[in-house]
Symmetry: none
Subunit: 246 residues, 2 copies
DNA sequence: TGACACCAATGGTCTTGACCATCGGCCGAG
DNA sequence: CTCGGCCGATGGTCAAGACCATTGGTGTCA
């Protein structure tokens, strides 16, 4: 058994003795206490962080996280997702309108149907090729003065955080199969009624306020999800990400 | 951008110039060529290995792997999945045949096309309603004497483990959108060309032998995937679960 | 009393250097 | 010619140390 595995077990035992949210000793402290280098200690912690047992907070400490009962999946933003593949992510804003929320969007955003929202339609491109069509709804009150050019080359989430001081804390995304309609087919350059993924996502602030409601159509011929089953005996957690057709 | 991220991109570019199965330069060579320490180089490679771009072979080298690109997600069996929702899972075996593997199945199972496999088609029911159509391929040599009645009321994986002493250690599943054909539509009680999920899964023993190749069509109108995003700034990790239409 | 600046502690990253474990080819013995 | 052992190259692991970036408290100054 490698030292890293031994350390992992020691730390897991430590975690079990602590409650959710409690901090484990600092890395420097732990590494000396357990008699290993900080590097080895960090390698063990890295694994536990990836599996969701621990959460790191820069400048603060490392904390025991919520037990993530079943499964896990990593979602990255479209921009980051593409960048990691060495592809150039880009987006073209098709429209930006200030409209009434209406019943469906109001329910998703948990606001009044009469409230105003920006409805933004964007085409997401990878290496210049259309990959997804995204319709974003966000309350006007949260991002007053939002304009199309701001969206062009900055990440939407960076824009939210830097300019409007809005931080996303959690979200829920559903994925279902669908087929493209006329408009979607044309924008995505696929035949009518092509299989596609429909992603719907809402995101919340730490205070629980819903910031956005996003509806995305992803080309089924270029995008697929890959699930890796790892049969770990323990609380069976697993990493995850979104992939593209090979 | 951190050095590790820069290195990662450099290596990704390198990978693109190589074919599947080709070796990348050794770690020591790469680290000096790229002007970083071996540890930093390894950290970048580690990530690419985790994501499936590269395969390491101790004493031999590091090789470009099949482009299974990216990500992972944890899955439960249909039976367990339904049980978690408080629904009654059942299955109807439509056919069980002893056939030659053929090229596609042989490749998935990593056996010879002439080898014999059981091809089992099952309709998966939840509370009596058809939810998915599953086509299962498993080498006859692994489960000699398998009969249809055995499949009716026991979990397939329990049967494997208890009766045939075959344990599943890992697996890979891809998910893509599709539409139903005539046969699928009829069996699933949905209109022709209805949106559906196509799941393809292979499962391996701890020894690396592929046990099964499963191709499943899930009704898109009754099944959806739910991904719960829990915050996390950069590495943007996310818990996930599999759900059904609310 | 309040706001601001500072600073210690923490996690994040990276380097240099070392030794172990495994693989596969080379070369010598038979 | 064949077999077997040796050895170089590779990946696997670990140490000790250094510096950066962020956080959060503390102390000072207005």
């Amino acid at each position: 058994m490698t030292k890293q595995e031994q350390i992992r077990q020691r730390v897991v035992q430590l975690i079990r003795q602590l409650g959710v949210g409690e901090a484990i000793p600092s890395e420097r402290r732990l590494s000396t206490d357990l008699g290993v280098s900080r590097l080895t200690l960090r390698a063990a912690l890295d694994e536990l962080v990836r599996e969701g047992y621990l959460v790191r907070r820069h400048g603060s400490g490392t904390f025991v996280s919520e037990p993530k009962i079943a499964q896990q999946l990593t979602l990255t933003s479209f921009t980051e997702d593409m960048r990691r593949r060495g592809m150039v992510a880009d987006s073209r804003t098709i429209s930006l309108e200030n409209v009434h929320a209406g019943p469906q969007v109001a329910r998703a955003l948990n606001i009044s149907p009469a409230d105003r929202v920006f409805q933004i339609r964007r085409l997401r491109l990878a290496d210049g090729e259309p990959m997804a069509l995204e319709t974003l709804h966000v309350p006007v009150s949260l991002v007053p003065g939002l304009t199309a050019p701001q969206l062009e080359h900055a990440s939407w989430y960076e824009l939210l955080e830097d300019r409007y001081n809005v931080v996303i804390a959690s979200g829920l995304q559903t994925i279902e199969p669908t087929v493209t309609n006329e408009e979607e087919s044309e924008l995505l350059h696929v035949p009518l009624h092509s299989p596609a993924f429909l992603f719907e996502r809402t995101s919340q602030t730490p205070g629980g306020r819903t910031v956005e409601y996003v509806r995305s159509i992803y080309r089924g011929d270029r995008y697929r999800l890959v699930a890796e089953l790892s049969q770990r005996r323990e609380p069976s957690v697993t990493p995850l990400a979104i992939g593209e057709r090979g």
